[in-house]
Homo-oligomer: 156 residues x 12
């Protein structure tokens, strides 16, 4: 039915829309994983990590909205449903139940590390096709790498 006139040629659009859809899935999952640990973390550093995780949740929610609306703006419907996220995320499985604070930090280092690698690939893949989308990925990468540093610093 609804067809939007995309400002990009078809090949470029394919490259960019795959990158956006992949980023959307990673970022929604990142927000769910960070909330899961926010609720289940225990140990002496509980409060500090509990609060820090909500900052990751906030970042991930804002970035996922930016990425999904960018897809819509290019004429490609984004897919952020639970099943799509559960099957397509680049983040490994998160353990159920209570999680010790040191394990919580390690889990977040791994989750952020996995998303960052894929996000940097998207930066490289989209520079030619659409510098506007690339600029969005660059900004997201900078923010994720800052969170990544902070969790790494805590387990030093």
């Amino acid at each position: 039915m609804y067809v939007v006139k995309s400002p990009l040629p078809d090949a470029d659009l394919k490259t960019v829309s795959e990158a956006l859809q992949g980023a959307l899935v990673d970022l929604v999952d990142l927000s769910l994983v960070a909330k899961q640990i926010h609720w289940n973390v225990v140990g002496p550093r509980f409060r500090s990590i509990h609060l820090q995780l909500d900052e990751v949740v906030g970042s991930a929610r804002i970035h996922s909205d930016t990425v999904a609306e960018r897809a819509s703006a290019l004429g490609v419907p984004p897919d952020g449903r639970a099943a799509t996220v559960a099957s397509g995320s680049g983040i490994g499985p998160t353990p159920a139940g209570w999680i010790k604070d040191t394990d919580a930090v390690r889990t977040m280092v791994d989750a952020l590390g996995a998303v960052i690698i894929r996000m940097r690939q998207r930066v490289n893949a989209t520079g030619e096709a659409d510098p506007v989308s690339q600029d969005i990925f660059i900004g997201i990468t900078a923010d994720l790498e800052k969170h990544h540093w902070m969790f790494q610093a805590e387990n030093a």
Copy 2:
């Protein structure tokens, strides 16, 4: 490892924790479904529904946090991971791709209706076991039924 002294006897705790876990899954899914439609809705009422859906997302996120932290406060680790949500939600499947505004409204009426029925069952189930949790379910139901009315009124 970590064992929290629950203020409830075991049988009551089982009843209440099942209700809380079920509510958590419904509410996380509700936030994902509402975001999905927020991004994909098209039609003359686009802007109005686009904005209205973000208010549902905001409500659902706050309620899911309340419910998950209530479970933790009772000593039961909550589970809000993507796979758990994808398999356990009480909301039926959401279609992929662009969605006409009238269909968007109908989908939200159905999604909210499904969650409300289950939430009212939780109100009934927990009154004896834990009036504190029941009070939380009552407040969530009131809010969801208000959103439900608004979407119904729009398709009149």
Copy 3:
């Protein structure tokens, strides 16, 4: 024309909708009465009572909105028109013209007292039929009884 699927069975719905409609009329009238005295009070305590009455107006307006939207959410159209309020309010007639500060306080004690009695009847009447509406009446009662105490304390 427009028919909303109510989550309540018919008998319960009748009970609850009568309670909501009655509360709406009482609360709209309370806001008009308090404004009337706000404008007409005279005497040494003028300023103190003038300000205090606007807090009652604020409370009554918020509560009337909550009650009316609750009725709509249950599929019952609320009626807050001037004629309905004038004929159906549980508050006795308010005198016209300037009103001395001690009389103003006594009038408010009576008006609040009349509404509180009816609101407590609604708490009792709706517990079975709809605990969600009951919870709203409980909250309104707590607030009205606090205002009631304050005006009583002033005439001690």
Copy 4:
């Protein structure tokens, strides 16, 4: 009892106080009518009109307070009680029950139109007697005519 020294001669005071009392009744009723429709409107434009009506309510409440306190400042006790409003308003009867969005808009166009005509008569009537009160009526008219335009534009 209480007699305030009015800054106006008796004939002028009579003219002005009738205009103020009439405006008060119209404006209180306008706020009740707009709330009534705010709660009962249904149809595809529900959300947009629901929000727009609350802006009319806000305007009408502020204007009624200004007008009533102006009467008090001139030494004339204002009367904004429900029965006075129900019998004296210049707005025609509002239908009970659910109201379709197009009908809701038409009802507001009529209600605002009726109040505007009377308000312009007050502007003319009070210029000689009290330019201070006239200035208040002028400001209210400007605001009501803006709301009037917006509802008219919506039914174009």
Copy 5:
């Protein structure tokens, strides 16, 4: 030295600038008188009147600024120095030392009454010469008459 091109002919300018200078002196004195009583009031209504007087101070300061800047905008240098205020104010002498709350209210009724009479004369005097300045005097009169009513109502 500095000559501003006034938008008014000379005769009109003379009328308007006298009105503005007179209003400036009255309003600066009103702010000083209200502060004086704010500091010296005693009696059971101390706190209520102490706070109310600061609202008069706030109004008087804002109005004096508006009036002085209006004079400057018309090319007439305003004069708000202490000696000018002390010799030219329309407000009668204020007693030194502690002042009982009922006396404080009566003093403010008199002070406001004196300023209002002169301000209404300015409204009449300037309508021909400069409707812009007249509009400013009208707004100030409305505000002062509201304060006047409130103090009168307190001594009823």
Copy 6:
């Protein structure tokens, strides 16, 4: 197509709508001229004038919106398009390129002066036909004359 029932008789409406359309063009141009100088001013007083000009821009934008919406409220479509503004503004040509701060101030004194003269003519022209529109022109004139004074004071 769309015909709004104007509250004014035809002859009055013609007078008022010409005044509103003229004011709209002047005010939009004033905002563009002030921005132009905001960007191009140089000299020791750069920062002070750069900031001051943005306050003129803010005033002009608000006033142009008020005037245009007033026209719509009277049933007359306003015209604020670039070509209309370029051909109909009462402000003389603004030089291109960098502008010394003293020249910048002089240009603003002239631009404001030209608009004020025409705005005062509109105050005179509309008093009979529509005191509501006249009141808007009075308020705008007061504000422009204040800006006018300030720029004049700077070149003294």
Copy 7:
């Protein structure tokens, strides 16, 4: 002297007022104990616990105010004096002097646990007599159990 007309029969009033007075004492003491530890905690988690304790203080102060004003609203004078608190609190003795962070957490777990048990008894005791007061106790319990979980999680 002063006698307020209570909305409750005498037996119910006795039950409810004992519950309110007991809750008041517990909550005032909770605020003092949490402040005491806020000032005396030492150890690597100092800052985190220092901040967290001030949130408990904030909660306890708000709840104690709610409970005391509820008693007044029912016509029963509340007693929150230091000696009453020192002799009647349900919280065990707090050690004097510096306190290690792990001990601080354990002390808070015990203090909150003691208050929660008594608060749940009040929920059960007052449901019949006064659902309005019961609703207040339910809300306080939910909040205290959340704080309780957080301190427990920190000592895991």
Copy 8:
């Protein structure tokens, strides 16, 4: 007269300054066109589009300021006067008078589409010469494409 030391070599400066001047004209016109429709739109979606257009106006004003100040920072005086905008804008002519809501949306889709094409050309043209200016064009393009999507979605 005034010569700023540009950080760019002459050829690059020429490229970049043409892009900035072109963008300035497009963006000022976009703000005028969106305001024009904001005032003249009629039809059932009046309110929704009326509000949405003011967001476009806000965006266009901020972007035009950024672009003009960037030109100044590079030593090139920007030109945003009405005549320059009227003759140089990339947006086609806007019709005068009332405009139906569907036509309003289509007009905005076309206007935004025309500006986006030119803005993407500026992104390509300036990457070599000045990555700082390019980054500004990229950010503006992302924002305009988001507005473009939203208007397109509304006419689906």
Copy 9:
């Protein structure tokens, strides 16, 4: 265990820490006494005194925190527990139950007077030993004497 290197020699530290501990007890008790009267005051001046007392509570809480943290900063653990306050306060016993407004004011005048005398002794005692602590006592005294004046003025 924990020993902080105090910046003061032992004799000075003893003087200062006794002063700080005494002030802490007085200020915590002042906050409890003011709250007690806040809840129990009755009479025509109820509202005015009810509000004024909460300002004393706010002041006393902030000052007690400052004093306790100053003790900690000097290496002396502060003691603000209920029993310590109940036995060591410089304020005489407060009556239980409802308290007439004039009695409430007199009680506050006495309580503040008692604390002020002791606070001025602390100002004298600590000037040599620690001007930093003395400066804190001076600031607290100024604030308490302002509250003292206001209550005295009300009983004039």
Copy 10:
């Protein structure tokens, strides 16, 4: 009539109350002088000095309030009436009419300098008698000397 129990012996009270009364007169006059110049300054630095003077006005008003309420708190009625200020201020006469910006700055340097000398004498005079009042004078002196520096720096 009204006698407040002063915390100071008579001789000290006399010293302190003279200092406070003197400071009050100086500070009220400073606020009037700064406003006078705020309205009358002309010249290229108009806007900068116009704004800076309002900051002096703000400071002087706050300080005069502090000083007057301190006098009341010590039981001495303050006198801030226009005639008292006109005859007792330590600031020399201010010229009437327009004032060139350089002269405006010089006038403020002199006015502030005169007040500072007297304020430092008050610091010396009150240290023995009342360190609380002295502390207030010290804070005011620091603030006035900062304003003094800024005006001096501008005439360098």
Copy 11:
């Protein structure tokens, strides 16, 4: 000891970390230089430049934090100590003592110019190695060039 897994290969990391460390030193020094002149500037434009310099300080502090945390995020410890800044800054020596306003502006033009040249070199150097860091340098350059223009415009 602590080793963070850098997302960049070694050669790229060396390039980027040198650029970040150089930028950090420049930006910290820029904040110190701007503060130094903020305190020491004299002359007629004192106030304007005094305020403008604090905006440079604010920018420089935010940018230095961004750059340092970016280095940490890449696994390279940043060095912003006083000695490192004193020896490594790209800004030439700043004179001690009072500085005339025209000299102050010239000093800032030179300081900003020196930092901009080096920042543009960093933009070029890092595009290949790390587009995320490059994007940060681009944003900083845009901001510094805006400040640079403003100071240049002031000395025209």
Copy 12:
């Protein structure tokens, strides 16, 4: 050139200006040291200390500004340049590179301790010469000693 008339005699001025210049250098260095550790701290307490250090930075920046502007107000140009800070600070050398959290805390305890000793000497040195400057040093000392306690408490 520029000579400010200092309110202090020469000998006193010398004493005070040395104290102010010394405090400025210490405080600027404290802000740089705290930022350095803010960026380089690692270990389980990373987040808590990272945030706490930014509060020290904020305090130190505000205090350094107060001290420098106090010097200017006394007519003595302050010197806060990087080289002056690097050579004159009272804080010992800070290690380069990553720093473990316990070492970070110890470093801050030492840095704050060194500054506090010197600041107390300044309190003693300046009481005679300038109580205004002394009051500033007292306030700074109180704040630094609070930070000092908090870091000490963390290493207990």
